[in-house]
């Protein structure tokens, strides 16, 4: 499965890129994070505390247990601070 993965705010800064194409067999958001963390230290640093992160699948907020079936875009970011 090929995913477009996006990073925002300090997640983007720590990983160093705003988006990338990821080839993965991960079944859930949590498994996708495990795969990314295994790649390189900068991912492990960005995802070190999952409780301070949020995720969206195809532009809808989801819990980290959410399955990636039919997903095309996954985004990771800190809690929102608009307004």
């Amino acid at each position: 499965m090929k995913l477009n993965v996006l990073y925002f705010a300090w997640v983007r800064e720590r990983i160093g890129i705003a988006s990338e194409s990821v080839e993965t067999q991960a079944g859930s958001i949590n498994e996708l994070i495990d795969e990314l963390c295994a790649r390189e230290e900068r991912y492990a640093a960005a995802f070190s505390d999952r409780s301070v992160l949020r995720a969206a699948i195809d532009q809808t907020l989801v819990p980290f247990e959410a399955t990636l079936t039919d997903a095309t875009e996954v985004a990771f970011f800190p809690p929102m601070t608009g307004g």
Binding site: F8, A9, Q59, L61, P78, M80, T81, G82, G83
Partner: protein
């Protein structure tokens, strides 16, 4: 009902005027968020980032929720992105209703949802450093009051 995400500034008075064209509108409540330096810490500017594909839909969803809950004749959400200096307007919401209580509650509801569910992030820039703004626990508390 309209939502706008833009780099340009907005004209609060003009937006409120637009909302009051319906003759049954007797009350318009607006909220304006401004780049502030609450702690006198030498803040120079605020950088606003958003998730472009997601943000309009998120704001539309929030506006629809408000419209389903209160008697709103019109409403608007405008949120700026980019680099904003101290004192500049960041965003506004405005709600128009025949009744003032509906207008007030809907505006507070829009703000509470927008703070916690719209994909914007703020970074404060100072003379010699910059810092991402942390989400506040009190904002989540504020959101919960609408969910009973």
């Amino acid at each position: 009902m309209s939502v706008h995400v833009q780099t340009d500034d907005f004209d609060l008075g003009a937006e409120v005027s637009k909302l009051s064209s319906d003759p049954s509108v007797g009350a318009v409540v607006s909220f304006t968020g401004i780049v502030r330096d609450a702690a006198q810490s030498g803040l120079i500017s605020m950088e606003l980032e958003c998730y472009p594909g997601m943000v309009e839909q998120a704001l539309n969803d929030i506006e629809i929720k408000a419209r389903n809950r209160w008697d709103l004749k019109a409403s608007v959400i405008i949120h700026r992105i980019g680099n904003l200096k101290l004192g500049e307007q960041i965003m506004m919401v405005a709600t128009a209703s025949p009744h003032r209580q509906d207008a007030f509650e809907a505006a507070e509801f829009l703000m509470d949802y927008l703070k916690s569910e719209a994909p914007f992030w703020k970074k404060e820039h100072f003379q010699d450093h910059a810092k991402w703004v942390d989400a506040r626990e009190t904002d989540l508390q504020s959101l919960k009051r609408w969910q009973d």
